[in-house]
């Protein structure tokens, strides 16, 4: 079979149209993404809508005629409507994934769970097919359409980052970076609990307004290890949606229904914080260089997101190098974390266009003690 990407996309699009017409259950929602972009999502049936929408419920807006992208979502629970499958040749992210791309079209096919993701930039159209949501791993519900939003955003200088973001309504925000287990979720949820603004605990979009970075919320879902962390957040237990599976899954929560005024759509970023668990009691924030932040953010983001390209690398560097970077040394007393971050943001004032930091920022417990910042070149890469 001699298929080009245009033919493949067209054929797959027809599969959606056929499936949607057959069931006559087509339903749609529109979400606002980034500064002012609208994305329409059309689901072939109600079941798909109820599965995918909770994570993005907080960015739903009214229907719009003019949208920047339309995502078509369908499944094959009745055995029909499957798109063709390109060759399977690569192991990527430890799953069978095949990625194909041209200037105008990208296609990703995964084996388990069976899933096809495609975008046609010129048509402003994306396709998302899965065999059956029942085959999806639990965590996929927390980050729907991630690959599509990554591809679409990259073309608009909106970078989908593996990062958390928190802040205050008037003080700006901090981007929290680090590999899995570095403490991003714990920090983000501790801040949420303290009344701070929450944009994400795992993935957010970052773009630029007036040359300064802004974090935009995509998902109001959060995940916590039940054994280690959820006991620290008893007030979040009411948000858990997978109570019957906590013996083998992380606790997954949708925050927006319970914290509608704390889940922020956007925060202007003032600082990048590299989260590090120290085992010490107190939390401290110290100046660091962009290289440490790059090492904490870029590999985990590019490994997670299919089809990452060197432009994503440059985009993330631009985010990191445009604001000061700090190491957030997380202590066991998690109640110290929110004031430490608030103090940092407050100390930075309203001028976000700052050079790399020259001095460490102390936490509330040692803010009177002068701290000498480590030289920016102390981090060995």
């Amino acid at each position: 079979m001699d298929l080009d990407l245009n033919t493949y996309f067209h054929t797959s699009h027809n599969a959606f149209l056929l499936q949607a017409s057959k069931r006559a259950e087509l339903c749609e929602r529109t979400i606002r993404v980034g500064n002012n972009a609208s994305i329409r999502i059309q689901f072939a049936n109600e079941k798909l809508l109820s599965y995918f929408m909770p994570a993005i419920e907080h960015i739903v807006v009214g229907p719009s005629e003019n949208v920047d992208l339309t995502i078509l979502v369908w499944d094959s629970t009745d055995g029909t409507g499957k798109p063709l499958c390109p060759a399977w040749q690569t192991h990527r992210n430890y799953r069978w994934v095949d990625l194909l791309a041209s200037d105008n079209i990208k296609v990703s096919c995964e084996m388990s769970p069976a899933r096809m993701t495609a975008i046609h930039f010129e048509k402003r159209l994306a396709l998302f097919w899965i065999s059956d949501v029942k085959q999806f791993p639990w965590f996929e519900q927390s980050r729907p359409f991630r690959t599509i939003l990554h591809w679409w955003g990259a073309a608009k200088n909106l970078h989908l980052l593996h990062a958390a973001a928190v802040g205050t309504a008037d003080g700006g925000g901090a981007l929290l970076v680090g590999k899995g287990g570095a403490g991003k979720s714990t920090t983000a949820l501790t801040c949420l609990n303290s009344g701070m603004q929450y944009v994400s605990d795992d993935h957010c979009l970052v773009g630029f307004e007036n040359s300064l970075p802004v974090a935009y919320s995509l998902y109001n879902a959060a995940k916590l290890n039940m054994m280690d962390s959820i006991s620290r957040f008893p007030e979040l237990e009411r948000c858990i949606v997978n109570r019957d599976r906590l013996h083998f899954e992380k606790a997954m929560m949708f925050l927006y229904p319970f914290y509608p005024d704390r889940v922020a759509r956007a925060l202007s970023l003032k600082a990048v914080l590299v989260a590090v668990v120290t085992g010490r009691a107190e939390t401290q924030i110290r100046a660091t260089n962009w290289q440490e932040a790059a090492r904490a953010l870029i590999p985990s983001t590019m490994t997670e997101l299919q089809g990452s390209e060197v432009d994503d690398f440059y985009g993330m560097l631009r985010v990191i190098k445009s604001i000061p970077c700090y190491r957030l040394e997380l202590g066991i007393e998690i109640g110290q974390i929110p004031p430490a971050i608030c103090n940092l943001l407050t100390s930075m004032g309203n001028d976000s266009n700052l050079p790399q930091p020259k001095a460490a920022i102390a936490t509330p417990i040692d803010q009177d003690r002068p701290i000498t910042a480590p030289p920016p070149t102390t981090v060995t890469l």
Partner: protein
């Protein structure tokens, strides 16, 4: 004259510093302000002597130290296989970068380049695959996926 060693060498000016990526090796390089200026002159098509002259016009350094710094940087860029020397003289080269001195000269700091190898796995170019008529899905029996890992 010099030019980038191929299409696998990409570069961008990120907040005042040029970052070069070698997509074959997966390495990346950050250049200081002076080195970034030299790199942008180089990719614009300036010869070694022209680069030295322009750096001398813009930065506050002696001709001797500027010559030494430019030569050291070019040698390192060649050693790291980021640029190659070319005999061609491009008389129509673009003067895209602003090399005219404006006001006071900038402080001259030695032109250096820092090499990083910590992202080799993610920066190496991936091949783009062709289609064939494999059906859906087509999972080898031996393939097992850990579906419980976020």
């Amino acid at each position: 004259m010099y030019k980038p060693a191929g299409l696998h060498i990409v570069h961008q000016n990120i907040v005042g510093e040029v970052i070069i990526v070698d997509l074959r090796a997966g390495t990346y390089f950050s250049l200081t302000e002076t080195a970034s200026f030299i790199w942008e002159a180089l990719v614009t098509g300036f010869s070694r002597n022209e680069i030295i002259e322009e750096v001398f016009n813009i930065f506050d350094g002696t001709r001797e130290e500027i010559e030494q710094s430019v030569d050291q940087l070019l040698a390192q860029l060649v050693a790291d296989q980021l640029i190659v020397e070319t005999e061609a003289t491009d008389t129509t080269k673009s003067r895209a970068i602003n090399m005219a001195p404006s006001g006071e000269k900038r402080p001259f700091v030695e032109a250096t380049v820092q090499k990083y190898t910590d992202m080799e796995d993610i920066l190496v170019l991936d091949p783009i695959h062709d289609f064939d008529d494999a059906g859906w899905p087509n999972v080898p029996d031996s393939t097992q996926v850990d579906s419980n890992t976020p």
